[in-house]
């Protein structure tokens, strides 16, 4: 009896959680109008982003992760 109720709970939970699956929530390519707006960009000021990345890259020897190549020697 215990295993049956556990089984029913498990199946119920899986059915509920399956609606969170990627197939159901994926934004289709033709539905990306709002995502393509400039205001949705991860950074609204490309110049400031480039300067900040350069500061990290050259002063803190931290490269990579921000799309900047190099060894962090500060020579760029």
């Amino acid at each position: 009896m215990k295993s049956a109720s556990f089984f029913i709970t498990l199946v119920f939970a899986m059915i509920c959680l399956s609606s969170c699956a990627e197939q159901f929530v994926r934004v289709k390519p033709y539905e990306r109008g709002n995502l393509a707006r400039p205001v949705m960009a991860d950074n609204l000021d490309p110049l400031q982003k480039a300067m900040t990345e350069h500061a990290y890259f050259s002063r803190e020897a931290a490269s990579g992760g921000g799309g900047v190549g190099g060894g962090g020697c500060g020579c760029n």
Binding site: F7, L10, V11, M14, I15, L17, S18, A21, E22, Q23, F24, K28, P29, Y30, E31, R32, G33, A36, R37
Partner: protein
């Protein structure tokens, strides 16, 4: 235990099974008038049709329009019909883009995404080349400038001479 494993497998597979199928090569093209009720769709019977999905917010679509205009003027007399399906949600943006690009081929607005849901384009723009018998023969995902243009020319030339 066996039941639990079966249930887990079924649950994991169900989204994949229920996902709508995208249009494939070899599949007959549906009647666009049914997918886009009210839109003025040119006569496509016995013609080679290029269905292109575009949007005003899509960068490569800007590059593809001059090429499509060129193809329409070059192969229109040979039996090519280009139908650009705009998927913008706002009619003003759709119209503004079509006017700006000076389209010489037919454009229709798929605001409800009925046609897009049927074809299931994998990227923007996506285009479908349909032969004179109404069968989807080539699918292009994205637009890569001269490379895609050359592919269009080769495929369209083959299709317009086919079945003549």
């Amino acid at each position: 235990m066996k039941n639990i494993i079966t249930a887990i497998l079924l649950t994991c597979l169900s989204p994949a099974l229920s996902a709508a199928d995208a249009a494939k090569v070899g599949q007959p093209m549906p009647k666009l008038s049914q997918l886009l009720p009210g839109a003025s769709i040119p006569n496509t019977s016995g013609k080679v049709v290029l269905v292109d999905f575009w949007a005003s917010w899509c960068g490569p679509c800007v590059q593809s329009f001059p090429v499509l205009n060129k193809l329409q003027s070059k192969y229109g007399a040979k039996g090519l019909v280009i139908i650009g399906i705009g998927v913008d949600e706002e009619a003003a943006k759709y119209k503004g883009f079509a006017d700006k690009m000076k389209v010489t081929f037919s454009v229709v607005h798929d605001s409800s995404h009925k046609a897009a849901d049927f074809f299931g384009p994998s990227s923007m723009p996506s285009s479908y080349l349909i032969d004179r018998k109404g069968v989807i023969r080539y699918i292009h995902a994205g637009f890569r400038g001269a490379k895609t243009e050359a592919e269009y020319v080769t495929e369209i030339e083959a299709l317009v001479t086919e079945g003549k």
